[in-house]
């Protein structure tokens, strides 16, 4: 979706704010927001694409003025409400009023290390041959889906060259919306800066973007 999260190439955000010896967390609430987000992810109630979509559907004025852990918190509230794990009334009071819903699993302290070390690989077995090979010239699609996509706006309808074939990966555009993983080939695509930004681009700039097969056509 063309939401506030799709930031590549936007202008006017000012200088990058650097902080020496930056801590992981700037306040206790950030630690807690981080931990509950990971722990709820560990319940298997949604996938990573659904959670990214929950964050990017925050209204742009909120997304752009919230710190990242605030975005995570608002995203987590939304996911818990969408999955009916909690109610609006409960969220207001901060206490349970209706019984819990069954969930697949609860992440316990003794499982944390193993769960993190395992992660959630996104590669899947090949079902059909890849449509493109290294060296193929492609053009990204002109598309503006209202749902989740990982083709950034700045790289749409642009010619590039396949530089890597990563294998078959879960397709975020369907997986985010409960329409299944629909695994498809994932490629590393090389773009010239001038093909993306026009003649004003830094002439020495190239971009590498990981893109799924349905985003691409032969050029």
């Amino acid at each position: 979706m063309n939401g506030a999260q799709d930031l590549g190439g936007q202008m006017g955000f000012g200088p990058i704010e650097l902080e020496d010896n930056e801590p992981n967390f700037h306040a206790k609430w950030e630690e807690r927001a981080f931990a509950i987000t990971l722990a709820m992810g560990g319940t298997g109630s949604w996938n990573i694409d659904t959670s990214r979509h929950a964050r990017e559907t925050l209204p742009p004025p909120i997304y752009l003025t919230s710190s990242y852990y605030e975005i995570w918190t608002r995203g987590l509230e939304k996911l818990c409400l969408d999955k009916e794990l909690i109610t609006e009334a409960e969220l207001k009071t901060g206490h349970m009023a209706v019984p819990a819903k069954p969930i697949k699993q609860v992440l316990t302290a003794d499982n944390v290390a193993a769960a993190l070390a395992k992660g959630g690989p996104a590669d899947r077995p090949e079902q059909q041959p890849a449509r493109f090979k290294v060296g193929d010239k492609i053009r990204t699609k002109r598309m503006h889906p209202e749902g989740h996509t990982r083709l950034p706006r700045y790289a749409r309808d642009t010619v590039g060259v396949i530089e890597a074939v990563h294998g078959v990966h879960v397709f975020p555009d369907t997986n985010a919306h409960g329409r299944g993983e629909q695994p498809t080939w994932l490629y590393g695509v090389l773009f010239k800066g001038t093909d993306i930004w026009g003649p004003d681009s830094d002439p020495g700039l190239t971009l590498r973007i990981d893109l799924w097969e349905p985003y691409l056509d032969l050029a």
């Binding site: 999260q5 930031l7 590549g8 190439g9 936007q10 202008m11 955000f13 990058i16 902080e19 930056e22 801590p23 992981n24 700037h26 206790k28 609430w29 807690r32 927001a33 931990a35 509950i36 722990a39 709820m40 319940t43 990214r52 964050r55 990017e56 752009l64 990242y68 918190t73 818990c80 909690i86 409960e90 969220l91 207001k92 901060g94 349970m96 819990a100 969930i103 609860v106 992440l107 316990t108 302290a109 944390v112 769960a115 993190l116 395992k118 992660g119 690989p121 996104a122 590669d123 990982r150 700045y154 879960v170 830094d202 020495g204 700039l205 190239t206 971009l207 590498r208 973007i209 990981d210």
Partner: protein
């Protein structure tokens, strides 16, 4: 307001207290429902505060600089080569290394969210997740690098890697000169978080002395 604002200089009081209350309410509710286990929450925080951070990546880079056979393994399958250190899993399931050379500088961004190689770098800094970096890294990386104090020669090519999928990129910076015969432990001291994102260069031996 009874809350502790010591670490929250970036937020005004009303904003902080609202989010603080909001997080507390959500955590309490999720705990009462039995969806989250409080000791697991503490363990998650502790893990990223003490065990998983850029020192991991620095070890990988130092070995890549020291051991040509290891570098070959990184190039062939970085996920497996990094797993030799025991660094595996969440947000490092599919690793790729990209090597800086005299002619090419690599820089990593996630314009769409905050994708970052947690297994080797830990949690991303705030600037990496913020609009100024995410918007500008892909269009004006040379200008971005200047803000990090890095001025590249005009003819150095810059390649920006936008982490749009689950592939995670680790930059192998150029090995500083004057480090012949250094041990991996010594070399790792030169490897900063930023140089593994591509927003910095590895420290020179003289900078290391100045930092100590």
């Amino acid at each position: 307001m009874a809350h502790n604002h010591d670490h929250d200089h970036d937020h005004d009081h009303s904003e902080l207290s609202e989010i603080e209350l909001r997080v507390r309410a959500l955590e309490t509710l999720l705990t009462e429902k039995g969806y989250v286990d409080p000791p697991a929450l503490d363990e998650l925080i502790e893990t990223y505060e003490t065990k998983i951070g850029p020192k991991n990546g620095a070890q990988v880079v130092a070995r890549a600089w020291s051991d040509p056979a290891y570098l070959e393994r990184l190039r062939a399958d970085a996920t497996a080569a990094i797993a030799e250190f025991g660094f595996t899993g969440r947000q490092g399931e599919h690793m790729v290394v990209v090597e800086n050379t005299a002619n090419t500088h690599n820089m990593v961004v996630c314009t769409l969210c905050s994708c970052y190689p947690w297994t080797v770098l830990g949690l991303p800094p705030v600037w990496y997740k913020s609009a100024p970096y995410r918007s500008r890294a892909v269009r004006d990386p040379r200008g971005v690098l200047l803000e990090f104090g890095v001025s590249l020669p005009k003819d150095t090519e810059i390649r920006v890697w936008d982490s749009t999928a689950e592939i995670r990129y680790l930059v192998i910076p150029e090995r500083p000169s004057g480090t012949g015969g250094w041990s991996e432990e010594q070399l790792a001291e030169l490897v900063t978080r930023d140089c593994m994102i591509g927003t910095g260069l590895a420290l020179q031996p003289s900078e290391l002395e100045a930092a100590q």
